[in-house]
Symmetry: C2
Subunit: 500 residues, 2 copies
């Protein structure tokens, strides 16, 4: 084999893999958006077959030889090519260690579990979901013991979402947060609460959709490449490449702010993806480098931008235009205070910035114990409820608003949750750097987010998976990850709002 033949093979393999992933992700997306319920079994069969085909391609001798050869001539490759070879080899070695039957059965199980989760959540019936979840944890452990027999099985899960992440780093991170945020939360609980009356009322879904379109435009999403749908649980997905992004939201007609911040959050994910350099299309470098960096962007737009005083002041006239009756007597400042009201609550996605990390800590602790065999899936709800009492002081009245609220575990995403908390902290560090170059508040007030997006594009988005999170943080900040920056951001913002 010569280098150019190998290069061509590499390009064509990546294109083929992208096509299969496109189909698989679209089947997922369809299941969550348009599909009738009775289609889950057919969809599961199709996904099992196509993922089996992808498995065969990814583990083929031809691909292995090509990658092996390219690694042997590493010095002749560009930095991008070398990174592609590294990522593909890591992935194909991983897949090759998973028995094909297990790989295929796992894909089918995830589809089935997701379907059952939807039904279980609707009827708040954990017993219905429990056997499916148990299978997912069992299969994940089996996959972990095949791929990284010498690692901690939960660390294996964490690696899926961020290279090199482990629970030691997370334990330290969460300890810092707990130390700094618990006193803040206690202080807030002792002063008068902010009103959120402005959020409440009747807001027709069709009107909320108009607000979604406006927000997508304001934050700079390109409608040629980003489409909006509605689902039970909001998410973002890339189909085939970053040229085709889908974001979803859920309209609650008694609270317009819920979908508003879902759209901005998912919009942040889509900005990151669509900002990737177009030359990475159909390569292993396309899209975000880790879920934590992804969440740093989504949570940056949702909170640091979206929940800023400037942003509330920018969008309030539009909110009032769409909901003239409901907004009577309210001001932009009322909106700002309502969407920053701090209050321990049951639902992660609806929670404020201060209590948010506790929701993550609870999930982190539970999934870690489940993966370590220190907790059974059967006992999960009671532990969930106990931790909500302990960390947030709230009683969980039923599993629908408790352990069944999130879609992640039903989708096999064990080890994902910490990405949200890391993302919050990474985002705060990036924000501190951004402010050295840009007058962020002025940009927002003038309705021109382009300089903000351009900064993110230049520093983060364009690189796709070229750099690891650690490398990105070092490039941007010149230093290491520092969770204190996030704690400072929260302390400053909420001390002002609550007059502490």
């Amino acid at each position: 084999m010569d280098v150019n033949t190998a290069r061509e093979k590499l390009v064509s393999y990546q294109k083929k893999a992208a096509a299969y992933l496109h189909a698989l992700e679209l089947l997922n997306f369809d299941g969550a958006t348009s599909a009738p319920r009775g289609s889950a079994s057919t969809r599961g069969e199709t996904m099992a077959i196509l993922s089996g085909e992808l498995y065969a391609i990814s583990t083929s001798a031809e691909v292995a030889e090509t990658l092996f050869f390219l690694e042997s001539v590493r010095e002749e490759l560009t930095a991008e090519e070398a990174r592609i070879v590294y990522l593909l080899q890591k992935d194909s070695k991983k897949i090759a260690k998973i028995p094909r039957d297990l790989y295929v059965a796992y894909r089918a199980q995830v589809v089935r579990a997701d379907d059952v989760w939807h039904r279980a959540k609707e009827s708040s019936d954990y017993a219905l979901f429990s056997p499916e979840l148990e299978k997912i944890f069992d299969m994940t452990k089996e996959i972990a013991s095949n791929v990284e027999p010498d690692s901690d099985p939960y660390d294996f899960c964490l690696h899926e979402y961020e290279e090199g992440l482990n629970s030691r780093k997370l334990d330290d991170f969460f300890d810092t947060l707990r130390e700094r945020i618990s006193p803040l939360l206690r202080a807030i609980s002792k002063v008068p609460q902010q009103s959120d009356a402005i959020r409440k009322g009747f807001f027709a879904a069709s009107d909320q959709e108009k607000l979604s379109r406006y927000l997508m435009d304001i934050i700079g999403l390109d409608p040629e490449h980003v489409a909006l749908s509605t689902t039970e649980h909001p998410f973002t997905i890339s189909l085939g490449s970053h040229l085709d992004e889908r974001i979803t939201t859920h309209y609650y007609e008694d609270d317009f702010a819920s979908s508003m911040y879902s759209v901005i959050h998912e919009g942040g994910h889509a900005l990151y993806e669509t900002g990737c350099d177009d030359r990475f299309v159909f390569t292993a470098l396309d899209g975000g480098t880790a879920m934590s960096i992804h969440e740093s962007q989504s949570r940056f737009y949702e909170n640091i931008i979206g929940r800023s005083r400037a942003f509330c002041s920018l969008v309030f006239p539009k909110v009032r235009e769409i909901f003239p009756e409901q907004m009577k007597g309210y001001s932009a400042e009322d909106l700002y205070r309502a969407v920053n009201r701090v209050e321990p609550s049951l639902i992660r996605t609806e929670s404020d910035e201060v209590t948010y990390c506790f929701h993550i800590m609870i999930r982190y602790e539970l999934e870690k114990r489940l993966m370590h065999g220190e907790l059974t899936v059967r006992d999960l709800p009671q532990e969930w409820n106990r931790l909500y009492r302990e960390y947030l002081g709230v009683e969980v009245p039923n599993d629908k608003v408790g352990v069944l609220q999130d879609t992640h575990w039903s989708g096999g995403m064990i080890g994902y949750f910490p990405s949200y908390a890391l993302g919050n902290a990474y985002g705060a560090q990036f924000f501190r750097e951004m402010k050295k170059e840009i007058d962020v508040e002025k940009c927002i007030l003038s309705g021109n987010l382009a300089p903000i997006n351009e900064w993110n594009r230049k520093n983060i988005w364009q690189f796709g998976k070229l750099y690891t999170p650690d490398e990105l943080i070092r490039r941007i900040t010149g230093g290491e990850f520092d969770p204190a920056v996030y704690a400072d951001y929260l302390t400053e913002k909420y001390s002002e709002i609550y007059g502490l």
Copy 2:
């Protein structure tokens, strides 16, 4: 090879082919429903790759050997197995005759053309679409000359939608219709017109959606297996098997009857598919046997049922409940007369039962001449407009409501249109038989369509592709296809409405 090994291979091949088709159809469906516009190129790449893979599987030596062996032991197979082997062999022989590059390029071209068609229709810009359409006709001719070098290339197209159909049969059929319907249309044009004022006004899309749900329920669609979406052009598609059906509609807010009859029409397609015996899932027998039989069901529910006096009387209370202001002063009889108003017009899907077949005849004549090389794609609009003047006496003001109105050609569906007219005629023949066993009017008036659906299921739906259209017609009527039955149905119905 022994029979049982070959049987197992047959089952697994059909499952795999169904999975690829599922993905390909879903990519199509997604392109028409949720996808952002800038995603067409990625989607085209994925479809080209996956259809290339399907091509390789379908033309593999293993599949050919299995089918060849099974054909050689035909007497040991069940009738169903024999039919499966026959259909798959026909299909795989056909595909094997198409060069792989042409096959893949054609799939990609169809995706691109469909995207361009959407843009061209919006701006009524035929020049934009023309080169894409030309490529589709050229490729179709090339495919035809590869697969059936000795056949008429247009007959090849017709075979795609109904086994054994040819333009001689269609020429005779359309001659009969013209002879019988032209005098009826002339007679109608000489008496006072029916009012369609009841259809006009403002009908919010969200309210129309409520009506859609009601109609889907009334005609007996199972929401576990049939979902509704909105698209530019309504259609029905099966994803993976008949357990997953999607119907689409388009809401025009100035005319509620348009979507109403789209939903019933597409609902008829979905009833046929979902009524197929479940043992045919993942086999070549799943789904409808020919597009003409498909249209016999969709047009049966749309017109023979949906545009009957009894049906208008059944649904009018619901229409009034959803649109109380708009329905003030109107009765069920007004609805009946409005949706049966006969008037030469521009848009096929909006046209009445009497003029409908002329829309088909125009398309039939044009696509036949295009396939015969007697007309160029460039000259198509002026011929379209000339025929609308000649057959229907209407002037086409622009291509959006002229040659660009339908999605079929952009999707590569040349030879499809005659299915609609044949379907009308088949449906009328089936209806005559049904009435011998069932009091159809009484069923509709009581809101219980179950006996009607059960008759269709027993006689048509359950068999999937087991019988050809000719065989089905013979089983049901005991005789041959007779277009006079349809002409009689139209003459009787519209003579009463117009008092001829």
